[in-house]
């Protein structure tokens, strides 16, 4: 998998609506001038940041997916079960769907930063609510239900907002929900990547409680794990990862759910010491692969990344469930 990563990375940045020979791509990457200056610009300003984004998004979603699956001991949990994406959606919807009407500013003038800010604020607010409610309850299962309820509420509010919005506003909101890996330039990546790296580090710092959680919360406590603190740590790492990814790239489905299962099947282990790095790598690979699929070969069009991950992810999940019969056994 480690060897696949540079290959997929190269393939991803070689493919696109403009054909750039592999030798030229390598030359640009090694810091030299390309044969055509436009090729250099395309590679350095568009494709490279997009491939880097794909790496970060894939790793982050995969890892936050397994954090949630292990915390809730539920194979169907994913990065967004705590309502993070619903919160972000609500934030973005509030900005995109009401901005034009309130201030007269045309919706399309909203910058990436505004949307990122709206998304992360929304995600953070919902998360704070979920966590403060979770402080009152003792078990993680209730937390899962509360996350789902918050998701329903925010979904309803977004529907109401859409009902009162113009077609242009709704379209801009929809474009955001499609997800995009290409919205980030180097400046935004400079903020995005440290946040994702921090999230990955915090996740890896939790390998011990994660492994202990394999026995269930009561056993975990009996071998010295402080569940209340650990639950917050795991939720914190998930929020950093899933929250920042949703804010910058939109809600990207299925990667967080499917990648942990794929890696578990591949390695046949539950040990998080191995699983976390493997999932980070695997997630990055799969995201690059999905990004290549999204760029329809030989066409100018680019499919929404969210559609590609779901088209790819759903059959994988179905295949897994059919093959494993009892998918709970692999957790």
């Amino acid at each position: 998998m480690g060897a696949m990563l540079p290959v997929l990375f190269l393939m991803d940045i070689s493919l696109g609506s403009v054909w750039i020979p592999l030798s030229e791509t390598l030359r640009v990457l090694s810091g030299e001038e390309a044969e055509k200056t436009t090729w250099g610009i395309i590679l350095l300003q568009f494709r490279l940041p997009r491939a880097c984004t794909a790496l970060l998004v894939g790793s982050g979603l995969g890892v936050s997916g397994i954090l949630m699956q292990t915390l809730f001991r539920n194979p169907m949990a994913g990065p967004f079960v705590l309502g993070i994406s619903s919160g972000a959606s609500l934030g973005v919807a509030l900005i995109v769907l009401t901005m034009g009407t309130l201030s007269g500013i045309a919706a399309y003038t909203l910058s990436t930063w505004t949307i990122v800010l709206a998304g992360s604020t929304g995600a953070a607010l919902v998360l704070v609510m979920v966590v403060s409610v979770s402080a009152k309850i003792r078990d993680s299962m209730s937390l899962l239900i509360i996350g789902l309820m918050f998701a329903s509420v925010t979904g309803a509010i977004v529907s109401v907002l859409q009902f009162f919005s113009t077609a242009e506003q709704i379209q801009q909101y929809l474009v955001w929900t499609f997800g995009s890996l290409g919205a980030l330039d180097w400046e935004e990546l400079a903020l995005f990547s440290p946040v994702v790296f921090l999230g990955l580090l915090v996740s890896y710092a939790h390998i011990k409680p994660l492994n202990a959680l394999l026995l269930g919360e009561r056993y975990a406590e009996s071998i010295g794990i402080r569940m209340s603190r650990v639950r917050l740590g795991i939720i914190g790492a998930t929020s950093l990862l899933a929250g920042s990814i949703t804010a910058f790239c939109g809600p990207i489905a299925f990667v967080g759910l499917a990648v942990p299962h794929l890696i578990r099947l591949l390695f046949n282990t539950s040990d998080h010491r191995l699983l976390l790095p493997a999932i980070a790598l695997g997630g990055a690979n799969i995201m690059l692969f999905c990004d290549m699929l999204a760029q329809l070969p030989g066409s100018e069009q680019r499919l929404p990344i969210n559609a590609v991950t779901a088209l790819f992810g759903a059959p994988v999940v179905i295949w897994l469930v059919v093959r494993k019969r009892n998918i709970g056994n692999t957790l």
Binding site: N211, L215, S222, G224
Partner: protein
């Protein structure tokens, strides 16, 4: 705590004994809307090192609540729990985990864990964040494997194990935790008879070989009476009774707790009601005598101790390997006796009517 006893030469000797676990005036229960619901109260119990304690009582008397309190999961409503010489309330989760290990009734959700991986989890109270096992950790794991005889299971995933194997693995994991106290909540539930006996004997052996205080909540009265060093009997209306099994049988403590119907604790047997009119006297010894008696009692024949008051006498003849039963009609003293070679035939003979016309 000190214990005084008189030695053979008549002197009084006192020995001081340190307990692995001890409670002072402990009350357990739960708080609901700031109101305390006491389930078991004023308990002063002790567990010595190397002691296997069976904790019994009917469902719903608060066994689980007491276990949770003793293992520091739930705070006591009053009183204190001492782990060694420390108040459990003053210990962190990690400190408790180094002194008390648990085997719970709940199924472990991690079915894809191998047995060896499960055992390494037992070392977690001693490991840092990167969970690196030292050679000493591995030695302790190997020792637990040897003690529980699970060498052949190590590579297997948990979901492939039988119930008995899984329970042994869970006990091995608790052993790896290297604590002075081990608490098990109904470790023999869902097991068949063979596995039950194996698990209970394993716990008994561990308490002696590794000098652990083992507390086991159980419903297995017959097994508990035979292996437990001490019983704790929880009662819905009354104090917790403790003592060695034999004392609790003789002083009626067990009867009060279980209110058994149709079971005579003092003989350890079911009490049979007589349903037949034919009184029988059995004459003989050995296993054949024992099981003939069992068969007749089970079928409701009143047994009498001498042939004088009996209507029928059964005389055991033959050898230990091939016993024979001779039936004598005591009323007529008829000597032509009937002889059968199985218990079943004897029962048929007795039930087909008396007196027989030969």
């Amino acid at each position: 705590m000190t214990i005084s006893h008189r030695t053979m030469d008549g002197k009084i000797r006192t020995t001081s004994k340190k307990y692995a676990l001890q409670t002072n005036n402990l009350s357990v229960g739960y708080k609901h809307k700031k109101k305390a619901h006491v389930i078991l109260s004023s308990m002063d119990v002790t567990m010595a090192y190397g002691e296997l304690v069976c904790f019994m009582g009917q469902n719903g008397v608060g066994k689980s609540t007491l276990l949770r309190t003793l293992s520091g999961i739930q705070p006591p409503l009053a009183g204190k729990v001492w782990l060694g010489d420390k108040d459990i309330a003053s210990l962190s989760k990690k400190d408790i985990a180094q002194q008390l290990s648990l085997v719970l009734t709940e199924q472990v959700p991690a079915a894809n864990l191998s047995v060896y991986e499960l055992l390494t989890l037992g070392r977690y109270p001693y490991l840092g964040w990167d969970i690196r096992l030292s050679s000493q950790d591995r030695e302790l794991i190997d020792r637990a494997i040897a003690l529980t005889h699970i060498e052949t299971l190590l590579a297997q995933k948990l979901h492939t194990l039988s119930d008995g194997q899984r329970q042994k693995a869970m006990i091995a994991r608790a052993l790896v935790q290297d604590c002075s106290v081990m608490v098990l909540d109904e470790p023999t539930a869902h097991l068949d008879l063979n596995n039950r006996i194996e698990i209970v004997l394993l716990l008994k052996q561990l308490s002696k070989e590794v000098n652990k205080a083992i507390l086991m909540a159980t419903h297995e009265l017959d097994l508990a009476l035979q292996v437990a060093d001490r019983l704790w009997l929880a009662h819905s209306d009354g104090p917790l009774l403790t003592g060695i099994p034999e004392d609790l049988v003789l002083n009626g403590g067990l009867d009060d707790t279980f209110r058994l119907k149709g079971y005579d604790l003092k003989t350890g047997r079911i009490t049979y009601r007589t349903t037949q009119h034919l009184s029988v006297h059995i004459q003989g010894r050995g296993y054949a005598y024992l099981w003939t008696k069992n068969a007749l009692e089970r079928n409701g024949y009143p047994l009498v101790s001498s042939s004088d008051g009996a209507e029928v006498s059964v005389l055991l003849t033959g050898t230990e390997e091939s016993p024979l039963w001779q039936v004598v009609d005591e009323k007529t003293g008829n000597k032509p006796m009937l002889e059968v070679d199985t218990v079943e035939k004897l029962l048929t003979l007795l039930s087909t009517g008396f007196p027989w016309t030969v």
